[in-house]
Amino acid sequence: MAKVPVQFTLNGSEKAEFVDSGTTLLHALRDKIGDTSPKGGCHQGSCGACSVIIDGELRLSCLTLAETCDGAVISTTSGLSDSGVLHPLQRAFLDTFATQCGFCTPGMIMAAKVLLDHTPNPSRDEVVEALSGNICRCTGYEPIIQAVLTVARSNSQNAA
């Protein structure tokens, strides 16, 4: 099968790959580029573990074909920390013990980041809504909701 060239920006750096037509972005990121922060939970669009941000929108990388990402700007959780300093969401997930096995965590953080990028000071209901496409087996969700609300509160203090 003919390979398809794709080029995109991943966490600020240019990536170019040849992929088989029909390859998912999740597969391209994890197995070709080596960014294993998006996780493959269900590969069917129902768990959210593979969530990434494409051109500012939250997307499921298991349902996104790599070849449709030509020219896109993609962010994943592995690109969030800045020279070893954790992103506020990563810090908050640690501080509120919002991660246990950690399998859902990168997807949760991506979902929370898109929410906070658009709505820096969301209500609890908005947080719940934003996380509702992501499944967690371990935490019971409350610590994750609290992590996101912690960042939201510090956003509103910084704005004040």
């Binding site: 719940v128 509702s132 610590p143």
Partner: protein
Amino acid sequence: MAIRRGRGVAAINYPTGMNLGGDPTQALVHSTPTGNFMVTLSSVDLGQGMKQIMAQICAETIGVPTDRVVVDTADTDTGPHCMGTFASRGTHRAGNAVIQAAREARQVMLEVAAEELEVNASDLETDGQGNILVKGAPQKSISIFDVALSAHFKRGRSISGRGMFLIPRSYPEKETGAMKPSTCYAHACTVAEVEVDDETGEVTVLTVKNVFEIGRALNPKMVEQQLVGGSWMGISHALYETTEPYYPNRDHGGTDFNQYLMPGPGDLAETEIIVLERPSADGPYGAKGPGEMCANPQIPAVANAVFDAVGVRIDTLPITPERILRALKAQAAN
């Protein structure tokens, strides 16, 4: 047709570990040349915090800061024998093995320090900060870093220890059936409040109040994390989770986890957690196994609350709207 409220309570008694064929875990501890300590286990950390707790236990026993301990749970083929992390046994079994191994390593460490300081090993103590001091004369001291260097390069000693913890299998006495299937029990009690719609059979859990008695909480924040997640999972078992949610027959059953229901972040009950610490006699620093039992008492509590609300006993899990409606119909027919 109405929304009816009910409240249910349940208490449980939960054994730590299992009684199938003897329940062993082994551990090895050794120092690196720079005086860090490695704990080698084949007990797997799957998110419950095994590595953190074993590092704390080893550090406490040897007398060094926790960040001087590295836990390697790499390989069940080649590591010291462990039955596995299940049955809430990890902290209790592996923790005890780590204590024994760390004690032996500590003894060698003190012997080497004693030779360096020209005193008796029994006159030495650790300061918990990485130094070994002479009791009553703390100005006379040596760092564990230097002790490890001496052991490795000068004295040819291995600062290491072996640990083994075994709960032997208990068989029932022939005459009475009496046996001791476990040496250590955790306890929990839950009160759940529900609303049941007697037209649709739908159950909403309003509040869950849990008290957990878990021995000593070796890491209180991680214990809380486990209990909060477990309480949610208990509700999930009570009302949602099954591999066969569909009717009338198996052909309509779920085929993968996409059809496996669990409550999401929008379905959370107001949850309260209280931890009681009654240190266990044979637990590592008094710990018991809080793992699995944290998701148990919610199930009978919810079933009892449903009974309190609408007067029907559901004895098959999960308590689905269909089961409630069938039971209500049967009740009305009687």
